[in-house]
């Protein structure tokens, strides 16, 4: 039951905020309620470690002869770090909101709700629980995005993003069905080899990296705090699955090709992140780039490495996206957080570079520039003037804001040393140094010579090619063709001569069946 405690804290706090907003709109302690709830949540996640690892399930779905799965959660070395990162993120969002014009309890309640679903997703013990939590997150995101979008193009992007997520969910279900066909019930403690690739593709599809797709051409006017929670929780909940896929389950001839495809997507994302006008505009590319690194670790038979990148995405990214009030004196915080991305020994991303298979170790090379681009972009955006000046804030607000940011950094450091078994490693130190060197060069290039591109969705012919827009146009053309064929067929059987057509089709079908029976 301890495993559900943080989720309950978040849900109760969200409900309290909602009721207060409806019943007592003038209530002045909404922020205090939300902030207390998030701190309790962080504490609750630490409680998971009592009697670690363990599984907890809700009453089983009945009848058990039909339903082979029931919602269940697993507290172990991989769900705990993700849970801590998400709990820390939600706390940071609330605590740092003090310097932003974000004082709507409903937005805080929504942030807490998304985090609650995120916790349920990262600790899912079986595919059923995971897809339930994913869908809950997707539906909240759908509603939030639809409410915040204003033009039809953005709306279309929202629907495409939702559809891509659903396809990812369908792939997880297909993996479970394939396992069932082989007589094995899939849970995350034992994923059968035939399911591994589907799960990996599901994650890639949900994150938009495999195949590369960017449904959100630009970020909507959703609030910084809630937007950060929405994007990072959604990404983390998908990435957490990678840690569950054993390396033998993705040992297929397709692996090298997937590594190349992912690298191409990651390079494009890293470049666009570096070029973006600010960190919020570039946020979709941060997610893509980090997701590429996480996927590559999994593909190189290092599932724990995917956790290293996934957690860096959440904590490092969370820091930068919430670092809206800046001053020169606080820059060291950003540099400290950015250092976690460097994969230097005993830092959070250090276990991201080792490979589980020597044959695939060479594939870290195309990923080094991705890491360098992401690091350079991180520092470049951190150097950019923020939304407001920290000096202009009252002392107590500065304190609360800095506490929120420091919490994320503390979690980042803690996870690097104590996150999971094998987290504190030297890693591939030369790779870390090489990418650090490249990042320094790219940073100089970025600061001196590169202009910042305004809309994240812009790009020329190369962007069009790399984003696989040509492929999507081709697929869309196929859909239109199928649509026309379908309409022609429907028109024929629904028209005046429809009954005759139907009879003819029936005779054809019967003759086919009769032939098959012979």
């Amino acid at each position: 039951m301890l495993i559900l405690l943080p989720t309950l804290f978040l849900l109760i706090t969200a409900l309290a905020l909602l009721l207060l907003r409806l019943g007592k709109p003038q209530f002045r302690y909404g922020w205090l309620t939300a902030a207390s709830g998030t701190i309790l949540t962080v504490a609750g996640v630490f409680l998971w470690r009592i009697g670690f690892p363990y599984e907890y399930g809700l009453p089983a779905w009945q009848p058990a002869t039909i339903f082979h799965y029931s919602p269940a959660w697993l507290a172990d070395g991989f769900s705990w770090p993700y849970a801590l990162a998400l709990a820390g993120l939600s706390a940071a969002v609330i605590w740092t909101s003090i310097v932003r014009a974000e004082s709507d309890p409903l937005t805080w309640a929504a942030s807490l709700l998304v985090t609650a679903f995120g916790l349920l997703a990262v600790s899912a013990a079986n595919p059923l629980t995971l897809v339930l939590a994913w869908t809950a997150i997707d539906l909240v995101e759908l509603v939030a995005m639809l409410r915040s979008t204003q033009n039809p193009d953005q709306t279309e992007g929202v629907m495409v993003a939702f559809a891509a997520r659903l396809l990812g969910t369908a792939l997880v279900l297909w993996a479970a069905i394939r396992s069932a066909a082989g007589g094995v019930r899939m849970d995350f403690a034992s994923i059968p080899p035939e399911a591994g690739l589907y799960l990996l593709l599901a994650v890639g599809l949900r994150l938009g990296i495999l195949p590369l797709h960017l449904p959100y051409q630009q970020e909507t006017n959703i609030r910084r705090g809630f937007g950060t929670i929405l994007r990072l929780v959604s990404a983390a909940s998908s990435l957490a699955l990678l840690t569950r896929i054993p390396s033998r389950a993705i040992d297929t001839p397709l692996t090298p090709y997937l590594l190349v495809l992912t690298a191409l997507g990651g390079l494009y994302a890293g470049w666009m992140w570096l070029r973006a006008s600010d960190e919020l505009t570039g946020r979709p590319f941060w997610l893509l780039g980090m997701a590429a690194l996480a996927l590559s670790a999994s593909l190189r038979a290092n599932p724990a490495g995917s956790a290293a990148w996934g957690l860096t995405l959440s904590t490092g990214g969370g820091f930068l996206f919430l670092y809206s009030a800046r001053q020169r004196g606080s820059l060291w915080l950003a540099l400290l957080s950015g250092l976690g991305l460097s994969a230097l020994p005993f830092l959070l991303a250090a276990s991201g570079w080792p490979s589980g298979s020597t044959a695939l170790a060479v594939f870290i090379l195309p990923y080094l520039p991705i890491q360098a681009l992401l690091m350079a972009g991180f520092v470049r955006h951190a150097l950019h003037p923020g939304e407001v000046s920290l000096e202009s804030q009252p002392g107590w607000a500065r304190g609360l804001y800095l506490f929120g940011l420091l919490l994320l950094i503390a979690i980042q450091i803690l996870l690097g040393l104590w996150g999971w078994e094998g987290a504190a490693v030297v890693g591939v130190w030369w790779a870390a140094l090489a990418s650090l060197g490249m990042a320094a060069g790219l940073l100089v290039l970025g600061l001196r010579f590169l202009s910042r591109t305004a809309p994240a969705g812009s790009g020329g012919r190369w962007a069009d090619i790399l984003r696989l827009n040509w492929l999507y146009r081709f697929l869309w053309g196929l859909f239109r063709l199928a649509e026309r064929l379908g309409r022609a067929l429907t028109g024929a059987i629904e028209g005046e001569g429809g009954i005759l057509w139907s009879l003819l089709l029936l005779v054809l079908l019967l003759s086919l069946f009769a032939g098959g029976g012979r």
Binding site: F67, L132, A136, I177, E494
Partner: protein, 465 residues
């Protein structure tokens, strides 16, 4: 007191009286209360037991003779009666919120009574005649006075009427089979005729055209009721056939035929739904997908398959009711249900749009919604028999999901200055919100259906035992 009087003649009589009552709310209240009461009685008072109310003692007897035929409702049928009248109460009560009570309820009650009679009649084959009468009575239900019938309605009557002689003729052949069980030629002829009869009755592709046409041309709520009631009874009637006749039940080809037809309906219905630009037609194709899933569940034959067959009923009822309610509400503000005509309506009608989306996604099997647990169970069971059939059904479900998302994209595509508001009445909001809660509740806790499920399979003597 006779069970047939209570569950067949009383609703039909009430329906006839309600034809003359003009007040929408009263009609809905009386019919909703009566249906709910009948459902409750079916749940609580076993047939063939004696009861006393004060000094008045009575026994609910099971058999009623009429014109040399018998209507038999036993205790085994009571869970089914609970389901049917509970569902009728749901449709009738919600109809008042959208001003359709008077159009739907009187004939709806009579149709329900007739269809219950079709499941109770002995000899069994007379059911085809009763279904035909119900089909004919549906015409004034769907067609407003002084309006010419559309192609969908005509085709509905044509296809359902074509089913009747085929099934009756099968009955004639069956007597010969009972006399000589080894007559293989006769068995083959009976099987083919019966199969074609059910192809018409269940609107199997390519005889499905009345469904999307009707969805496009008629009132969505009334069509929704027809789409729920006829396929449900046709499926129960069909399953009754399989249960009753050993030569059908034990035919080695039966599972593969049911599974092939089911997969065809799910995949065909889903893929065709994905290319539609009319919300009413999408509702129609969703019905095909649902029928397909029921056939797939039946194809599993064993106890598991029958449980799945019955488990599908409740989520289907809620989702179709909610979808029809949402569409009817949107239609107040639109000339038709084409995407172009409903563009941007999510902003003034968010409850209706959300209901439509959630209901369609539940029918598509979206996780966390009521339709999902049962679909997952069907996919898993089917995968052990045929992986390609499973893949096709998954594709069909995705097709329906795409249709739902395309519909949602049209509904939310409003001009930038359009504000979010809620024009739905409070009763509409209440019914829709309750529908959402049930969809999510059953999606997370399907075991809530267990009390009903435990008793429903008793309807069949052999299937699932």
């Amino acid at each position: 007191m006779n069970a047939s009087i209570l569950w067949i003649f009383l609703p039909m009589g009430a329906g006839t009286i309600l034809l003359f009552l003009r007040n929408e709310r009263w009609v809905a209240f009386v019919a909703g209360s009566l249906s709910a009461l009948l459902a409750l009685i079916a749940w609580l008072l076993p047939i063939e037991n004696a009861y006393a109310i004060g000094n008045y003692a009575f026994k609910l007897s099971s058999t009623f003779e009429i014109l040399g035929r018998r209507l038999i409702l036993t205790a085994n049928e009571q869970p089914m009666l609970t389901l049917i009248y509970g569902a009728a109460a749901f449709w009738f009560i919600a109809s008042s919120s959208i001003g359709k009570a008077h159009r739907l309820i009187p004939l709806g009650l009579i149709v329900t009574g007739l269809l219950v009679a079709s499941l109770a009649v002995e000899p069994f084959l007379y059911a085809a005649l009763l279904i035909e009468v119900a089909v004919l009575l549906t015409t004034p239900l769907l067609l407003p006075p002084h309006q010419k019938p559309g192609r969908g309605l005509l085709r509905f009557i044509t296809f359902q009427t074509l089913a009747m002689p085929l099934i009756l003729f099968t009955g004639w052949l069956l007597r010969g089979i009972e006399a000589d069980p080894g007559a293989n030629a006769l068995i083959r002829q009976a099987a083919i005729l019966l199969g074609i009869g059910f192809v018409f009755l269940l609107a199997v592709i390519p005889f499905h055209t009345w469904i999307p046409l009707l969805g496009e041309e008629s009132s969505p709520y009334l069509t929704g009721f027809v789409f729920w009631v006829f396929p449900t009874f046709a499926l129960l009637f069909g399953a009754g056939f399989i249960d009753r006749y050993a030569w059908i039940r034990t035919a080695p080809q039966l599972p593969s035929i049911l599974s092939a037809v089911g997969a065809l309906m799910v995949a065909g219905g889903g893929l065709l739904a994905a290319i539609q630009n009319n919300l009413g037609r999408i509702l129609g194709y969703a019905v095909l997908v649902e029928t397909g899933f029921s056939l797939l569940a039946l194809s599993l034959l064993e106890a598991q398959g029958i449980e799945l067959f019955f488990l599908l009923f409740v989520p289907r009822l809620i989702a179709m009711g909610l979808l029809a309610l949402g569409l009817e509400t949107l239609k107040k503000d639109a000339a038709g249900l084409d995407f172009a005509q409903v563009r941007g309506l999510a902003r003034p009608w968010p409850f209706a749009a959300a209901s439509l989306l959630l209901a369609a996604l539940s029918l598509a099997g979206l996780p966390a919604l009521a339709g999902f647990p049962i679909r997952l169970a069907i996919w898993e069971s089917l995968a052990t028999v045929s992986l390609p059939a499973t893949a096709w059904t998954l594709v069909g479900s995705l097709g329906l999901g795409i249709a739902a998302l395309r519909a949602a994209a049209a509904l939310v595509a409003a001009p930038a200055q359009a504000a979010w508001e809620a024009r739905e009445s409070w009763p509409e909001r209440l019914f829709m919100s309750l529908g959402w809660l049930v969809l999510f509740g059953l999606g997370a806790f399907p075991q809530w259906m267990i009390p009903l499920l435990n008793r429903l399979p008793a309807i069949f003597e052999h299937l699932g035992h």
